[in-house]
Symmetry: C2
C-alpha cells in the first residue's frame, strides 16, 4: 500500500522557492527524492518530513502525528544505507534529526508500516549477525558493563523502588509501576510453584529484587548470578541490610559457569544477552543443574519470527543483544527433552512498563543531561520511546516460558492456581 | 544405565532344561540373547519376558509390573528390525505376544526407559518420514476414512455423549468425562474470547460438538470443515435436531479448501493429520481467512522434540499422522507474523481422558470383537493403552496454542478471565 508519487506534496516550503530555483547544486532534489521514496515505502504513514532547506513533504490530507526535521544532508542520506535505524538513531542523538510532536507516536507509525522483508533485509541481517559476533565470556562482560554499570543512582531515578529493570505485570492497566513489579515477581514465583526450602538458581539477577523476593516470600534459598559489578554490589548490600544474606547468595559470574543443582531455574531478562550462538551453552547449564522434578522459567524479549535486534538498540544500547523467536528458543529446550508447560506473551505489559520508565526518565532529564550529556539523554529517550513503540506495534514480544523435564509428572494440573485470589 | 549381563537371570524355565540341552537348534539361545539385550537396552525395567520355549528372563530382585509372553520366534525377532514398535503391535494384535498383568504399566515402563537417540534412530526416522509421504487431498481422505469412518455407533460406545474425540480438560482429576469434555469446550471458547455474531472457522470438526457448543453458548456463526463422511453426516443431523443448522454449517471438505473470512480460527485435534510437508498450506489458509483482529487456536498432540510418530500408531491406527514439536509448529505461525499469545500443555489431561475411553472401550469389548474381530480389539486396546502410557511418561504432549496477528492489539490483557468463576 505504498503512496503513489502524486500523493507526496510540498506542504509549504519554509525557504522561498526563488532561492531553490537559482541553485545548480542538486542536493535538495536528491534529498527530496530520497525522503519521498522512504515515506512511500513506509506506506500511508501520518508523518511530515522537513528537509534541510525547509521544504516539507508528507502525505496529502492526513494530520501528521509528528514532523521529523532533518537538519543536514548527512541525516538524510544516512537513511539510505544498510543500517538506517542506526543512522537515524545517531542523527537523532546528535540533534541532526529532530522529531516535533509525539516521539512515541512517530515511531509507532514507522514500526506499524508494512515492512517488506526481501533479499536486501536478509543480506543486512546476515551482515549484522556476523558483525554482532559471539558473546564470549570476556565480550559478555564488556557488553553488560556498557549498559548496566552506568551508575546505580542513575537507574534509581527512573526504575521502581526495588530496581526491577524488566517487564512488569499489571493485574490491571492502571496499577502503579511499584504494584506491577511486585505482581510480576509474584506471578513468576507462582508459575514456578516454589516450596519452602527449595533451591533456586537465577541467571542474570539485575539488582537482586527477584532473588530477595523469592527468599522472603517463599522461603527458598537462591544462588543468583550476574556479571554486572555495580548490580551485584548493590544486591549484596540489600541482602545484608534485609537480613537475607544467609538465604541468598549473589555470585559475580557468567551463566556459563553456573554449577550445583536446583529445584527451580529462573532467568528474567537475560536471554536477550546470550545470543543464539550460545543457546547450546545455556541448555547444557540448565540440563546440568535442574533436578528431575525441577521447573524452569525464561522471561525475555522475543520476536514473532527470527530477525536481528534493532541495529540502533544493538549497537548503542544493548551491545551483543538478540531477541529470539520461539523457534530459536526451542533450540535451547528441545534437544534436552525439556517440556514446555506454559508460554505467556506479555508485550502490552512491557509497553506499559516502559511508559512509566520514560515518564520518570524525562522527569530526571536535568540530572541525566548534566551527568551524561545531551547526546546520551536523547539516545536513551529514543531507546525508551522506540521500545514502547516496538511493544505496542507487535514488533517486540515479551515471552514467559515455563518448562520442566520431559519425564517429570510433578507438573501443575491446571493454571487456575496462578489466578486464585491471594 | 543398562543392566549388566549378569543381572539377567533365568527366573525359572517352564520347559525342563533337559530338552533344551538335547537340541542342536540354536533358536532358543538366539531368542534369549535378543530379548536379554533388549531388556538391557531399556535399562532397569520391571518387566519379565517369557520366551517361546517357556524360559523366563528379567531383572533380578524387582517385582515385575507385567510378564510379556512371546508365543513364537517371529514375535521375538520382529523386535530386531527397523520398526520394533510396529512389529510388537502386530504380534500383540495377532496374539503372538501376550502381556500378562497391567498393559498400561508395562508400556509405561518401556516408554519411561531412557531411549538413546543415535544414528540408527535417525536413519529409521528418515526412512519412516519418507515412507509416510505427503497427505495429498486424495490420500488425506483415505487416511481419515480409515480411522474416523469405522462406524459412528462404535465410537458412541466409548466416547462421551457428545462424541468429543480429543483431549478433555479436567478442572480437577475426579471430574467425569462428560464434565471434562464440556469444560474443554468452555476453555477453548474462553481462550478465543468470542463475541456474539462473530464468524468462526473450524478445521477438522469431528462429530461437530465444539461447533455446536460455540454457536449455542457464544452466539457465533460457525463453518466447520471435515473430510470424514460419517462424522459430517452425524454432525449435520445434530445441527438439524438442535435447531442450529442456520448458525452452523458443516462442510465436507479439506482444510486446504477453506475460504471466506473469520474472527476466530480453531482446530482441535486436526494438526496431527496435516503432516509437516503441508504446514505451509495450513499457514496460507489461516493467513487468508483470519481477520485483522482475529484469534486462532491450535490444539494438537505434540512432542518435546521433532521425531516420527509411533510406527504402530502411524501404520495401524492413524495413517499419515505426525505429532509435531513446537519448533515445527512455529513454521506455521512465524512466516505469517502470527503472534503466540498463550501455550498450554495438557498432557496429563489426555492421559486421564484416555483412561476413561479405555475403560468404556473394554466394557464394549464383546460388541467390538463380534463386529471387528479379536485382532481389531487387541490392536485398539494397545493403541489406547499406549497413548495413556505416552502421555503419562511425557513421550506425548498436548499443546493448545492461542495466537493472533502480529499487529493486533485486541489481545487479552491477562489470562485471569479464563479462570474467573463462571
Amino acid at each position: 500500500m505504498a503512496l503513489s508519487r502524486d500523493t507526496m506534496v510540498i506542504a509549504g516550503p519554509a525557504v522561498p522557492p526563488r532561492r531553490r530555483a537559482r541553485t545548480l547544486w542538486p542536493l535538495p532534489a536528491l534529498e527530496r527524492a530520497l525522503i519521498a521514496r522512504m515515506l512511500r515505502s513506509l506506506g500511508d504513514v501520518p508523518i511530515t518530513a522537513v528537509l534541510p532547506d525547509g521544504e516539507e513533504i508528507g502525505p496529502r490530507g492526513i494530520v501528521p502525528v509528528a514532523r521529523v526535521v532533518f537538519r543536514d544532508a548527512r541525516a538524510v542520506f544516512g537513511l539510505a544505507g544498510l543500517v538506517p535505524e542506526l543512522r537515524f538513531g545517531d542523527a537523532y542523538a546528535e540533534g541532526r534529526i529532530e522529531v516535533e510532536g509525539d516521539l512515541v507516536a512517530f515511531l509507532e507509525a514507522v514500526f506499524a508500516a508494512p515492512a517488506p522483508r526481501g533479499p536486501y533485509t536478509a543480506v543486512a541481517d546476515w551482515w549484522r549477525s556476523l558483525r554482532r559476533g559471539r558473546n564470549s565470556l570476556r565480550r559478555a562482560r564488556a557488553h553488560i558493563a556498557h549498559h548496566y554499570d552506568l551508575g546505580n543512582d542513575f537507574y534509581a531515578r527512573w526504575l521502581d523502588r526495588e530496581m526491577v529493570y524488566t517487564c512488569a505485570y499489571f493485574p490491571h492497566p492502571e496499577a502503579t509501576l511499584e504494584e506491577a513489579q511486585q505482581a510480576k515477581m509474584a506471578h513468576v514465583a507462582r508459575k514456578l510453584r516454589l516450596r519452602p526450602g527449595e533451591q533456586v538458581i537465577e541467571a542474570g539477577c539485575g539488582w537482586g529484587a527477584l532473588a530477595l523476593y523469592l527468599a522472603r516470600h517463599h522461603g527458598v534459598r537462591v544462588r543468583a548470578f550476574n556479571i554486572s559489578r555495580e548490580q551485584i554490589a548493590w544486591a549484596r548490600e540489600r541482602a545484608q541490610a534485609e537480613g537475607l544474606a544467609g538465604q541468598v547468595e549473589f555470585v559475580e559470574d557468567d551463566y556459563r559457569n553456573v554449577v550445583g543443582s536446583c529445584d527451580a531455574f529462573v532467568s528474567v531478562g537475560m536471554l536477550e544477552h546470550v545470543g543464539p550462538e550460545h543457546y547450546g551453552d545455556l541448555r547444557r547449564v540448565i540440563d546440568r543443574v535442574l533436578s528431575p522434578d525441577g521447573r524452569g522459567l525464561l522471561h525475555f524479549i522475543g520476536r514473532n519470527r527470527p530477525m536481528c535486534f534493532s541495529a540502533f538498540a544493538e549497537r548503542r544500547i544493548f551491545p551483543g543483544a538478540h531477541a529470539p523467536a520461539l523457534s530459536e528458543v526451542m533450540t535451547i529446550l528441545e534437544p534436552a527433552d525439556l517440556s514446555v508447560l506454559d508460554v505467556e506473551n506479555l508485550r502490552l505489559h512491557y509497553a506499559r512498563t516502559l511508559e512509566h520508565w520514560l515518564e520518570r526518565f524525562e522527569r530526571a532529564g536535568d540530572m541525566v543531561r548534566s551527568r551524561y550529556g545531551e547526546r546520551f539523554l536523547r539516545m536513551w529517550r529514543l531507546y525508551l520511546s522506540g521500545s514502547i513503540a516496538g511493544f505496542r506495534t507487535g514488533n517486540l514480544q515479551l515471552f514467559q516460558i515455563l518448562f520442566a523435564r520431559g519425564r517429570s509428572n510433578r507438573v501443575p494440573w491446571t493454571r487456575a492456581d496462578l489466578y486464585a485470589a491471594a
